[in-house]
């Protein structure tokens, strides 16, 4: 079920679009639901669809199309490291390896304590700050070095 706060946020998004275009708010509604639950269960997607009055499969199409939605549970912190060209040229691979080593998981996996999920990502439009990563989609850390990664992990732990 969507919380009251989530509904209020979704309503604010809905106000951006014509009244007969509730569907347009599905991306933000899914995002809001995901921020609330950490990921999008099939029930959460169906709830969003029901609230917007669109077929659930239409909401699933969207949730499965965009990279930043999680259709399975992830750790408390999802770390998405950009490995696209500009980051790659500045050794994003080294950052990934360092993280894999530190967390003891491979890319795509979640640590046993459910704290961290490690991901590789595509270009985040911030190549000037390479190498970089995103924490839970919304917080970017740039100019990474193994040392900075260690500090970040400390901070999150």
């Amino acid at each position: 079920m969507l919380s009251k706060q989530a509904i209020a946020k979704i309503d604010r998004e809905l106000s951006k679009y014509p009244a007969d275009q509730r569907r347009a708010a599905v991306m933000s509604a899914l995002r809001i639901a995901q921020v609330e639950h950490g990921w999008l269960s099939k029930e959460a997607i169906a709830d969003v669809a029901a609230y917007l009055g669109i077929p659930d499969i239409a909401a699933l199409e969207v949730a499965s199309f965009y990279n930043m939605y999680e259709l399975e549970a992830v750790g408390k912190y999802k770390l998405t490291v950009c490995t696209n060209i500009s980051c790659m040229l500045r050794d994003a691979e080294g950052i990934v390896e360092h993280l894999e080593h530190k967390l003891g998981v491979h890319c795509g996996e979640t640590t046993a304590d459910g704290k961290f999920t490690l991901r590789e990502g595509e270009c985040m439009g911030a190549c000037g700050g390479a190498p970089l990563l995103l924490i839970n989609n919304h917080e970017m850390r740039e100019f990474l070095t193994p040392e900075k990664v260690d500090v970040m992990l400390e901070e999150l732990n």
Binding site: P55, I57, A58, E61
Partner: protein, 789 residues
């Protein structure tokens, strides 16, 4: 008109048309997968790429509009190279195992690949594998074969009216699926089997039962609703293996409903009656035709020789015109006028007042073009699955649809106005619309004198419906107002059908709309035309049961399921001295019969159906009758002979038909006008008693559908509960799942209640034509509810 050139051929084309439309019209082949003339253009498969002069890139013929002077090359080296490359891409991830694929032999991919494929594959990487989905009992999936053309997705959204499939994921991982493990529930779902160009979606009942090249094709007419869809039987070893639509733009376009597609499964039901049977001291025994027929004739004779009025003849509106005609002729020969096919009708006040055979009032093609329409008393999707799509299509083109009904089921299209009230209010609702209409300044025609509407106060919604019909809405077509008022099955079953009919007709007349009846069964119109109706002063389908006859002749009828009042029908059959049933099935509903004569169902006999638009469609038997079954017209002929009735020497159903029509042009007999208006009671309906809304579910409409197992396994397969509005439940202190006792007249049964807010407060929605509800009575009217003990 534009002038274009395709492959050197000069062609005229209308502005706004696409290259593929012009090419198709001209018979110039262009390969395609995603394009379908009845669906929106997706242009995603890229198979239809063609060369256009002065363009450096090949363009998709399906999405490129023609322009004046355009020169198109569909088979130039440039075009073919593009087409071949697309073909190669399509095949890299497609299994190349045609011999084990169910689509083999009728696969568009296979067909086109033969023309385009380059020998060995250059793709040596691993192929994609896609998990299969379970989308229900009708359609089988093999998703690895899918080429993402999205025809199925578009069909369900655009024609079916509800997005039930989608393409989730993206890129190479994109796959077609329903939401999690939902099934596809559209009543038109089977069409995606035909649409799928590869073997990703195939027929589950048909799956692996035959290869297409082993199948013989025969033509037929779908035997269920009044649309009269032309179908094609695919036959192997004298067995119908599957049913497909034949294309008839004016009727079914290129679709058929699932009911018409999958009902053939009942043809091989274990309940098929293949030998005549006689009841001997309460036990059924098989016998030979001679014995059975003589027995039947002697029993009937015993009753009629005493009093010819003691016979009642009930004929299914699903029977052919010939069968109906002979049943009537037989009764007449025996001096009896008690014949009827309107098994679920209760109000016969209009008998004798019709100036012709009631029908749709326009062609189906016109129906699809309608701009303002009022449908009264119809659960559209259940009653007329494919016709409903025509309405949906009209709405897409801007039509305004208004509904007056006792159920608020979603017809899957935007509805402009609706009035949903308890059934007893229908007459009053129509009177309100009529009153509002009369008061519109634009309406100049006057009301019939007999109608005094001075006390009627239209509600805002009634007002809106009137305004919509009169063309006050957004789309006003002044020159050629295309409006229509139509009565659905529920209206026809309503206890005040006559009043509903005449009010609706008056509304139509005043607003310049056409008026018609959405006829219930495949041959409702035909049976009317063939006069399968009671003689003046004789008994009709209702009174034949109320005033129990000593003998009944049933043609294709399961009384407790097909008649308006199950309880009454059961009692009547139990009490009769003699019941002779011509039936295709051994039916529990025929337990009180004395003799069962196995007749050939629709695929095994020749005959004629007349559709709701008055289309007379004769058909031949597609397969030989099963076992010892015989066409019903032959059985009736012999019965006629045995009963000593003259004029029963027919050699073919065509002969019957010729005599029946007697040179008449069927089209001239169609007429919805009445010779006089029946009295209309505008007193507000009183009483707060709970009312039954007795609908006929999609797959309970007739004896055949009821035995089509794959249809019964769908969501529409009739799970019975007594459904009520949430408020009504609260009022009664009930919660969903509770058990109650419902009674009508002398009959009662126990049911679980469920909540359904589409049912007006004051009603119980309780379907008929199900064995669980046969203890109950009329489809509409009072129903008593008590807590179950």
């Amino acid at each position: 008109m534009l002038k274009i050139e395709i492959d050197g051929k000069e062609i005229e084309a209308k502005a706004g048309t696409t290259i593929i439309e012009v090419a198709d019209r001209e018979g110039i082949p262009i390969p395609r997968f995603c394009y379908h003339k009845k669906l929106t253009v997706a242009a995603n498969c890229r198979m239809c790429l063609v060369q256009i002069e002065k363009f450096g890139k090949p363009l998709p013929a399906c999405a490129t509009p023609v322009t004046d002077g355009m020169k198109i090359f569909t088979r130039s080296e440039f075009a073919v190279k593009a087409q071949k490359s697309v073909m190669e891409f399509l095949l890299i991830n497609h299994p190349l195992d045609c011999p084990i694929c169910d689509q083999g032999g009728e696969c568009e991919l296979q067909d086109i690949a033969v023309g385009y494929g380059g020998g060995a594959s250059r793709y040596t990487e691993e192929k994609r594998v896609v998990l299969n989905k379970n989308i229900g009992s009708l359609i089988s999936t093999d998703m690895t074969r899918c080429i993402q053309c999205t025809r199925c997705v578009r069909f369900l959204k655009e024609v079916g009216g509800m997005m039930e499939l989608g393409m989730v994921g993206r890129g190479e991982h994109a796959e077609i699926t329903a939401y999690v493990d939902k099934s596809v529930d559209s009543e038109l779902s089977g069409n995606i089997i035909d649409l799928c160009p590869v073997g990703a979606l195939t027929s589950k009942p048909f799956r692996y039962s035959a290869r297409t090249w082993e199948l013989t094709r025969r033509q037929g007419i779908a035997p269920h609703d009044g649309l009269g869809s032309p179908i094609e039987y695919h036959i192997k070893d004298n067995k119908v293996m599957r049913v497909l639509p034949r294309e008839e733009e004016g009727v079914n376009e290129c679709w058929i409903s699932d009911r018409d597609r999958f009902s053939y499964e009942a043809l091989s039901s274990p309940e098929r009656l293949t030998k005549p049977m006689i009841k001997d001291h309460g036990n059924w025994v098989e016998t030979d035709w001679q014995t059975a027929l003589e027995f039947a004739a002697s029993r009937i004779k015993a009753v009629v020789s005493n009093n010819s009025q003691e016979l009642g003849v009930l004929v299914s509106p699903q029977s052919t015109m010939e069968e109906g005609y002979l049943a009537k002729k037989l009764a007449q020969g025996l001096n009896c006028g008690n014949v009827d096919h309107r098994l679920r009708q209760v109000d016969f006040t209009l008998d004798g007042k019709h100036l012709g055979t009631p029908w749709l009032g326009c062609t189906i093609a016109d129906f699809a073009e309608i701009e303002r329409v009022l449908v009264v008393g119809s659960n559209l999707r259940n009653e007329h699955p494919l016709l409903t799509h025509r309405l949906r299509h009209a709405v897409k083109n801007g039509a305004e649809v208004s509904l007056i009904n006792a159920l608020d089921d979603d017809p899957l299209m935007p509805i402009a106005n609706k009035l949903i009230e308890v059934p007893s209010e229908l007459v009053s609702l129509l009177a309100q619309v009529l009153k509002a209409l009369v008061d519109l300044p634009k309406i100049t025609r006057k009301l019939p004198d007999a109608l005094d509407l001075s006390k009627i106060k239209p509600t805002a919604s009634a007002q809106k419906i009137a305004e919509s019909l009169a063309g006050f809405g957004q789309r006003v077509c002044v020159l050629e107002p295309r409006a229509g008022v139509f009565l659905g099955n529920m209206a026809q079953h309503h206890p005040r059908y006559a009043e509903i009919y005449s009010l609706a007709q008056t509304i139509a007349t005043l607003s310049g709309a056409s008026f018609g009846v959405l006829s219930e069964a495949a041959n409702s119109v035909g049976a009317n035309l063939a006069d399968v109706l009671p003689e003046a002063d004789a008994l009709n389908a209702r009174t034949m049961l109320e005033e129990t006859r000593k003998a009944y002749l049933l043609v294709n009828v399961e009384p407790e399921l097909d008649c308006h009042n199950a309880h009454l029908a059961t009692a009547a059959m139990a009490k009769a001295e003699c019941v002779v049933a011509l039936t295709a099935f051994k039916s529990e509903a025929l337990r009180d019969a004395d003799v069962l004569l196995p007749i050939a169902p629709f695929s095994e006999t020749s005959g004629t159906f007349m559709s709701m638009e008055g289309r007379v469609q004769a058909f031949a038997a597609a397969v030989k009758p099963l076992g010892e079954c015989r066409p019903a017209w032959k059985v009736l002929r012999v019965l006629g002979n045995l009963l000593g009735v003259s004029g029963f020497d027919f050699d073919s159903s065509e002969q019957v038909s010729r005599e029946m029509l007697n040179g008449k042009d069927a089209a001239n007999c169609l007429n919805n006008q009445l010779s006089e208006l029946p009295p209309i009671n505008l007193q507000a309906a009183s009483g707060s008693a709970l009312q039954r809304v007795g609908e006929i579910l999609l797959y309970q409409s007739d004896a055949i559908v009821r035995r089509a197992v794959p249809l019964q396994k769908t969501k529409h397969g009739g799970v019975l509960s007594a459904a009520m509005h949430g408020e009504q439940l609260k009022k009664l202190g009930l919660s969903a799942g509770a058990e109650v006792k419902l009674s009508q007249g002398n009959g009662s049964s126990h049911f679980k209640v469920s909540q359904d807010d589409r049912v007006p407060v004051g009603c119980v929605r309780l379907p008929a034509a199900l064995k669980e509800s046969v203890a109950l009575g009329d489809l509409f009217g009072e129903i008593k509810l008590e807590a179950a003990r």
